[in-house]
Symmetry: C2
Subunit: 596 residues, 2 copies
């Protein structure tokens, strides 16, 4: 299966154009400014000394790297951005060791401890800098940054693969594997690909240092060799970055054993460990997967970066084999658990994306004082662990990556977004307001082929083959499909104990939620009337409709316990897209609702 890169696609209008414009016009500068304020930019000058404030953090390198990558992917190398980036590259060049090493924390804070702290993001930072260098090279054609990172990659190869002189064998925070694959694809230097494969092959062959509270390497997926792993375990961003690298290597080397491990792990995630929003990570303790069907809503971890990493994994699986599930999962992520991570105005972010918020509980003394970690309830412009904001920038920049794949006879349309794609001597113009409505018009130019258009599961009235409708197309042919966009109720497996007796409301691919702003407090007590008429109306909030329907709630009571009554008040419930929650101040929010 061949990839159609975001580089070959221009998003021209519709849902994703709106998001890209906001990020181009607002988020890129806003995130840079926050990074500047917090010392992340200056840190590259390597002037920090013991006693100074703004001590560089172990993953600040990667924050800036993702910002550079995002700017490059967006083709937003304005003179101003160019100046910022070139200054950072100057600093990197200047701060790079003779031997090729580059890391801020392990140069200015703990220079004696390089490659001894397995869990402290050293190779993760290296990986993100490589991705940034590749993106900047591709956008500008200038290879200074790329060459710096090649020197660093060469040094890493020497230390880890040739001399084996580091205190550990494989990264404690995976990411460099998929980055090395990108570095290989930009440079065509096979050693980088082989180094990625080396890290994947070595992983789990021996017990290595990991965080204390997980046994036997579960936290960072080194509990056994990756080819023997069958379940998604541990820190879920680490996990899905690794799985993405595994899928890359499996595809490139046509490694069936590795493909099978990827398939099993992917199935475990999407059948047992994924929120309906595409969010992953059921506990903030270790930001990790837990056991099957354990999907608590209020204390969900579901980091924005985790959703991103799942989309990356799914996308790479899609390049291995054509199966509708991969595109389905990507769609779930991009319209829900990923998109909720950024505010509608593009300025503020969530780290965790919970499926329920009750501010009082978040603020109750005992939980906060005791360090029980609830997700924050309002998006913030920056947080200590600000991996997500620049990750959002680069992810939306490259959203086109998910739209198409093709093989000899068939071009697959997986995601719906207005734009022009040019690849393999063909051109596809897609026009759609999806998911505001379901009409999709595709104009095809090029040699005759089969066009396979994914039909989401909610379009039950359209007959498909393996979830796609096929059209034989030739040059200049227009194809139209009307994907029905129903509002429908979803239940989760009975084994998901959190959601027993509760249902989610979806409209097309978009998960909806109740917010206190529209519906008052105590949302858990709201009972939607599924037999009532469902009204869809445009709102000022966002570009897909809000949904209204009849609902009931119990009357206020003085007593704590009393005999069951059936005395309820009727009202009209207003549901908004989940991705738009928490954009009107702190308030209650709920995804899984009672329905009668």
């Amino acid at each position: 299966m061949n990839e159609v890169s975001y580089r070959d696609i221009t998003i021209t209008d519709g849902f994703w154009k709106t998001r890209q414009d906001i990020i181009r016009n607002v988020t890129i500068d806003s995130v840079y400014d926050r990074f500047f304020d917090t010392g992340r930019v200056e840190a590259f000058e390597m002037k920090w000394k013991e006693g100074d404030d703004k001590q560089p953090h172990i993953f600040w390198d990667s924050d800036i790297a993702k910002w550079i990558e995002g700017v490059a992917l967006f083709h937003e190398i304005t003179p101003e951005n160019e100046k910022k980036i070139e200054k950072i590259i100057d600093d990197i060049e200047c701060g790079q060791d003779e031997n090729g090493y580059f890391n801020i924390f392990f140069t200015v804070v703990k220079p004696e401890e390089r490659f001894t702290h397995r869990t402290e993001h050293e190779l993760y930072c290296a990986g993100h800098l490589m991705e940034a260098a590749v993106a900047y090279f591709r956008q500008t054609g200038r290879d200074r940054f790329l060459k710096i990172m090649c020197r660093y990659a060469d040094y890493i190869e020497k230390v880890f693969k040739i001399e084996k002189s580091a205190a550990f064998t494989t990264p404690g925070h995976e990411e460099i594997e998929l980055a090395l694959v990108k570095l290989y694809s930009a440079t065509e230097e096979k050693r980088y690909l082989e180094l990625a494969k080396f890290f994947i092959d070595e992983r789990g062959k021996r017990l290595e240092h990991t965080y204390g509270f997980f046994v036997d390497g579960m936290y960072d997926q080194c509990f056994k060799p990756v080819r023997e792993q069958e379940t998604a375990e541990g820190h879920c961003v680490r996990a899905c970055y690794l799985y993405s690298g595994m899928a890359d290597i499996a595809r490139i080397y046509d490694d069936e054993e590795l493909k099978n491990a990827c398939r099993m792990i992917f199935d475990d995630i999407v059948n047992h460990k994924m929120y309906i929003t595409g969010g992953i990570g059921s506990t903030p303790h270790g930001e990790a997967f837990t056991i099957k069907y354990d999907l608590p809503n209020m204390r969900a971890y579901t980091e924005t970066c985790a959703a991103i990493s799942l989309a990356y994994f799914a996308h790479r699986m899609q390049l291995i084999e054509q199966k509708k599930i991969y595109a389905d999962i990507i769609e779930k992520v991009i319209y829900n658990g990923f998109l909720s991570g950024i505010s509608l105005d593009g300025k503020a972010f969530f780290y965790e994306n919970p499926l329920e918020i009750i501010p009082e509980l978040r603020h109750k003394d005992v939980s906060v004082k005791n360090g029980e970690r609830f997700p924050i309830t309002e998006r913030l412009e920056v947080f200590d662990c600000s991996c997500c904001p620049p990750n959002v920038i680069r992810f939306v920049a490259a959203i086109g990556d998910f739209a198409y794949t093709y093989d000899e006879n068939t071009v697959y349309v997986h995601q719906f977004m207005s734009g022009e794609a040019s690849f393999d001597g063909r051109k596809i113009i897609q026009q759609t307001n999806y998911p505001a409505d379901g009409k999709v018009k595709i104009t095809y130019y090029g040699k005759p082929c089969r066009l396979a258009v994914r039909v989401p599961d909610f379009c039950e009235d359209i007959e498909t083959e393996d979830g796609y409708v096929y059209f034989d197309v030739e040059d200049g042919m227009e194809t139209e499909i009307d994907l029905t966009m129903p509002v429908y109720f979803v239940e989760s497996n009975p084994l998901v104990y959190e959601n027993c007796g509760r249902y989610a409301v979806m409209r097309g691919p978009v998960v909806y939620c109740l917010e206190e702003k529209d519906n008052g407090k105590v949302l858990r007590d709201v009972v939607l009337d599924s037999s009532s008429e469902i009204e869809e109306t445009q709102s000022d909030l966002t570009d897909v409709p809000v949904v209204k329907m009849k609902a009931y709630r119990r009357k206020a009571q003085n007593k704590l316990y009393y005999k069951k009554t059936d005395d309820m008040d009727e009202f009209t419930a207003t549901l908004i897209p989940y991705y738009a929650f928490a954009n009107r101040g702190e308030n209650e929010m709920l995804v899984w609702m009672q329905v009668k």
Copy 2:
């Protein structure tokens, strides 16, 4: 209002006779043996030295003290028990300082640090030893132990009240307040009462050391002077022991301000912070109250001792003023959240008494490894913090305390238990199988008076005055009342977010639950059919009936998420009394259920 002491009551048969017999015949010896095995008994010899195993713990004194108190309250001073107790008293006598001080930990482990660690149970241990000495004196007439504890109380008065030479002013774990009131009532030495009042008056006048994770003295109720406190806060056993002492002092000194504080705090507990079982404490972090209506079921703290302490508080309020709520709450506690703390065979105990158990979640790696504290899922014979087992012994021994009060014209029958009560020149013989059935026969001997019999709220068909029915009785008169014992569904206030859409099943005063043993797994998915016929049947498990009714559950599914279906399997659900849960091995349990 006058008290009728357990000492004036003999339980002759029925529900409480069964419990008392089990504790007499099994629990007393079983708890002693576990305490012996763990070194708690030997610790009194004060021979422990650095490097020895079984280092005495800061509250081992109180564990043994409660066991002695329980044996004495039970009139179980058999020759064997007498030998055990006298040996311990020998050790206490021998280990007591010249100045009167006695504490194992602060003699053998940290002798230089007496009265410097406010939060470490030193005065709490003193209080329990005083209670034990009073009970032993009352049962045997021998005053050696009592005099030892009076010497200690004198020393405490000197250090804290006269010289003010301790590093803190008021106990970090309250208990000594109510114990000093008992010491006063046994010795008629008013200084002890005044010392209790001193500790209560001084509390919260200044900020004192407390655990770090609570602000401003919330943890141990010293955030403001007790007369200004309006809400139940902090560690709930500490809290209710304090409130019990406050109620004692309020009554004895006829202190209206203090009575009002007690009333407000009591209202706050029973209207906002109490589980339907009478359990209290919504978080294991600090074993504490949290915010109004925050009553999580699976992670409930609800320690057995906390239920006991609430009953003590309610009982003391009942002595201040006649209000039905106090007896209602006591009934809730004794048949539910207290009684669940001991296994049906009398050998094993719960510390926490959760309202839901899912063993898989308890055992999932990430929660245990990260120290998220879930309640244990099976009763144990002993645990590190074994305050509850001996507390259960002394509580059941004195269960008669709760049955009656009287004033000039009226004898109040608050609780239903077969037995003979002799007080104030009267005799009452109560015959009942309550709560197996609701028939209560009361034979009265003595001067003519009004007999006021409490009618529980579930007996809706009986007309009452303030919740009691009144009978004019004279010598030898028999009175019968038939308290209907319906099975009924209860809901909690809509603000209790955990229970929205869920209901509890009760039969009379007894809360019922579903267990996996009877109903299979995934109890949260069970939907009871409230319109179906309800069957009550005797079972081998315990002495009140099990309840059966029609129910539904969803069919097993492979998918994680799917469009709402209404496809359910019908089955007969079996509900057992909550107090009998977890007596057939580890399994799922649920109190708040779906009902249609």
